[in-house]
Structure formats: C-alpha cells, structure tokens
Assembly symmetry: C2
Homo-oligomer: 315 residues x 2
C-alpha cells in the first residue's frame, strides 16, 4: 500500500499504517503529521489549554500517556509529568514504569513529579486494597490515582491535567454507561471536565485516537513504553465492552469513532438537560480536598487501613 | 435442575427451562403460567388493548407471531390473524408459512385475513424488489408488510395490531439506533405506537421475552412454526448487533433486558423531550393512505414496477 498523501503529490512512498475507518494509508512522515494535527484540532475544539499554561500530564509508563507527553511537549506546550509510583513488585511493574517515565522526562527535558505511595503514605496500593478489605485492587487504585494526581495539579496550580485516554477507553466506558442508561454518567462523559472548587481541569486530547494509532505513534517516535499491562488488571468489566466494540468495529469499520462522536454531538446534550445534578462539595475533614461526604473516600480507606494495621500491631 | 416454584411448595418437579437472567428454573406448568402472566403485565403496563376490542395479530408463520396469536386468544382477547402472502417460492417458503398460519387459525378457531400479493397487486415481493431496482429485498418487504398490515387494520377498524417482536429484536434495534445516536428513532422506539390519522395502533406484547423463551413456549404449546428463516434474509445489519448483544448477554446475563428496560425508563424520556418532530401527514395522492411525501413509498415503488413492466412489454 502506498501513502495517500505522497501519491496525491505524485510520489511513491510505502504506507506504514492503514487507518481503515478514515480510509487513510500513510507513510511515517505523513502519519506523524496527521496525528499531530488531529491532536491540536481536538485541543482547540474543546478549548483544552493554551501554550502559556502549565499542563500536568498523568504518565503511567504506558503507550498512551507517554505518547501524549511527547507530543504535547513537541507542540510547544509547557508540560510537567505526574507519575504515581504504586509499589507493585510483581514483574517489577512499578519500578519499570517509573524508569520509562524518567527516561522520557530526560529525553524531552521536562520535569517529572513522582509521588511514591509507600514512601509518602506508608503503604503500596496492594497493601491499601488488602488492608481495607477490597478485593478489587483496580477500583481502589483508580480512586487513589485520581485523588493524588488532582491534589498535585491543584497544589502546583496547573491549568489542566491531561490524560492519555483513547477512543477504545472512551467508547467502552460509553457503551457500559449506555447499556445501563446511567444518565448521570452519560451527562458527564466528555473530553473536558472543567475546573471546580478544588478540582483541577481534566482533559483527554487523545480521545479520538484508537489504541492502534497511538501505539503506531509511540513506535515511530521510538518511545519506550510498558508493553505488559498491570499484573492486577483483569477484574474490571470494561474488557467485555471493548471486545463487543472490537467485534462491531471489525464488522463495520468506524463504529467506535462514530459512536463516540455522535454521542458528543447528539446523545450527551439530551442527558445534560435532563440531569442538572448539584453537588454540595465541602473540604474533607481530614485532608481538606473537596468531597460530598464529610470525609473523602481516600481518607476513609486510609482510616480503615491504619486502623487495621494498628490493631494487628504492625505500626 | 428442579422447578423453583414446585420446590417452594415442597414438590420435586424437573425444570424444562432455565431463565438465567431472571434466575428462574421452571417446569412446564409454571413456565407457561409465568409466560402468560408476564405478557398480561406488559399489556397492562403499556395500556395496549382490552378484552372488548378486536386485535389484529400480524402472523408470519414464525414462532414469535404464532405464539403471540395463541396466547392472546387463550387469554380471551378477540384476535384476528393478518398474514401477508409474499409469494416467495424458494423452499416453498410462502406456501409453508401460510399453511402454518391457517393451521393455527383452525386450531384456535379465530379468523385469518390473508393478503396475497401476487393476486392482489400482481407481483410477488421479489418481483417488486427486482423491478423497482432494489437489491435489498428485506427493506422493500418491510415497507410493504407494514403498509399492508396497517391498511387492513384501519379498514377493519381494529383497535390495535400486535406484532411478535421480541427482546432480541428490540434490543438489537436499540443498539443500532444508539450506536448512531439517532435521537429521532430513539425517541420513537417504544412497545406501543399510538393510533394517528390513518395509522392503526401498534403494540409489541412480547418485547420483554427472549427468543429462547418464546421458542420454549411454542414447543411446549405444540405450535407448528417455520423453523427456517426467509431465504432472502442475510443482507440486513441487525444480525451484527444481535451477535454483539449475545456476546454481552453471555458474559453478563440480563444485559439485553436491562438495556431495553432502562432505556424505556431513563434513556427514552431524555430524547422524547429533545425531539418533538412534527409530521405533516396528508393522504397519498394514489392510495389515500397517510404519507408525508405526496405519494407514499409503496405507491412510488409500484409506479416504478409497473412502468418497468409496461416498457419491457410484459404487461
């Protein structure tokens, strides 16, 4: 297959990627150009952030977040990486993840803020899950990562936190919310979550890219990333929705993108009008971060963890 | 497995069906009882029709529509079968379909109105599709069946037309409409379509039953039905959505029912408020049935068919 853009200019260049749902086959140069342009378009369309502002990029060590950090920096945005070191020993998962984030930080010459859970809180994420009696590490991990990344962004007065969520993630979450017709979640699912008393602005500049497109970018840009997933993953239900969407995408290319884009255009506005939920946020009595519950969920989990540990005499 | 209801009464009766998403295993007697009760509940919940009214039941010869006709009659409703004889010769499809409808008509002692397309219009459905230049017989067939059944119901002053649409059909159509966020269709998808200038009321009393439940009913009631599908089927896209839902149902029993029920409760109301489409219906200049287009789609297709046939000298 030949690059479509080169071909239109009378040149013959082999395509490195074929993007079925866009009917595009592109060479390395034109794919990288397309990828950059699409990202800038998304940033502009949703008024995500500008060049004068400091943007936190939540980096896990995976292809999505590292590619995002690389690209935003290359585009001239003032980025700072934020990495939560979870303390997962199995397969040296956390150690390797941090290493890959640090390596990119050096390469692009941008600072990396690292929050080490074991050092700062006293427990790894697995210890927290276990001691608080949660079987599902993933949901506890999500709660802590969101909390910590937000806290860092607020403290550092960052204009926004960018995450590497891709189209596969977003469409799977959308399908899950849709299958339950959870109108509250549907009203809130959007590439931008505005800043609000104690919550930094959250943005997803890669939300229209498939995993395949992002991994192609990472490889072409020679970004080293974690190729194995978290050893704790597997208990979440989203893979089921991802599989259902993969099937539909295979049968009808473009399904995922259309599903998500049309939702933003036509689906979400209907729910937005329906559910004007008002939250009564107040500072958490323990940590001061905003919560609707008196004591925030992170502090409640930590109370339990510390209580258990005090009783068992480990502390 | 034992019947749950018999068990609760201290009896041991083997279950003939296990309904995973309702966590029910039932013997023949209790399944038939459950099936009847559920149908009556749906009829009542959506104010479909009453015992004093004449109800047309659109029967194709398949398990869904024949089971519906049997059950409604058994419940004491005044039913009349309506069958459109399409003239499909392959595998004697249309001949066998009519035969099965007639057989049930005799068994339950209720009249069957038969509209024979070849005799009444001059063409079989396949001839119409071919001569009007449509490759997809199914969509032309759908248009004609809806038109003819409605016309018969209006002429016969029936209070409603009941169709055998099941949960597999409804949830697949819902998924298809949702994947495109077609808010107009989403606002209209409902177990009842109210009567409106020239359109009879349409109702779907089986919309919460899976195919499996209906086929079990048909077998237990010894209803003879067409076991092979229409020889023209296969070009529609709905099987893809049915497959995706079957996958989700397998992984998470109850998905289909929850998806459809929650849609009716929470999804649809949001779209209903959004899209208050107004149609300007007027009698078709050719046949007098209501249309938004001057000449209705059936008459336009027939004009084309007759024009082609006149030119080719066949008429």
């Amino acid at each position: 297959m030949l690059c479509k853009i080169c071909k239109s200019k009378g040149k013959k260049e082999k395509a490195v990627i074929s993007i079925r749902h866009h009917k595009l086959a592109l060479c390395k140069e034109h794919f990288l150009e397309w990828f950059k342009k699409q990202t800038l378009k998304t940033i502009k369309q949703f008024s995500m952030f500008g060049k004068e502002e400091t943007i936190g990029v939540a980096v896990s060590g995976g292809k999505d977040s590292l590619s995002l950090w690389q690209l935003l920096t290359e585009c001239g945005f003032k980025t700072v990486g934020i990495h939560i070191a979870l303390g997962i020993d199995k397969n040296d998962y956390s150690k390797k993840s941090l290493e890959l984030c640090s390596r990119l930080s050096e390469r692009i010459n941008r600072p990396l803020i690292v929050f080490d859970m074991k050092r700062e809180i006293g427990y790894t994420i697995e210890e927290i899950a276990k001691l608080s009696g949660r079987k599902d590490v993933c949901s506890v991990c999500g709660t802590f990562k969101r909390y910590l990344i937000n806290k860092i962004a607020v403290n550092e007065k960052m204009a926004a936190v960018a995450t590497g969520h891709n189209l596969d993630d977003e469409s799977a979450v959308l399908l899950s919310n849709t299958m339950r017709w959870d109108t509250g979640y549907l009203a809130r699912q959007y590439p931008v979550l505005e800043e609000k008393e104690g919550f930094a602005k959250k943005v997803k500049p890669f939300c229209f890219f498939t995993e395949k497109e992002i991994v192609s970018y990472a490889i072409l840009k020679e970004i080293e990333f974690m190729e194995t997933g978290c050893p704790n993953a597997g208990s979440a239900t989203s893979p089921v929705y991802k599989q259902a969407l993969a099937f539909l995408e295979h049968k009808m290319p473009g399904t995922k993108l259309r599903f998500y884009r049309e939702f933003l255009k036509k689906g979400r506005p209907a729910f937005e009008k329906e559910t004007k939920e008002e939250y009564n946020l107040a500072p958490c009595r323990t940590c001061g971060m905003p919560t609707t519950a008196g004591v925030c969920s992170v502090c409640r989990i930590l109370e339990k963890v510390r209580g258990v540990n005090a009783k068992s005499g480990k502390n």
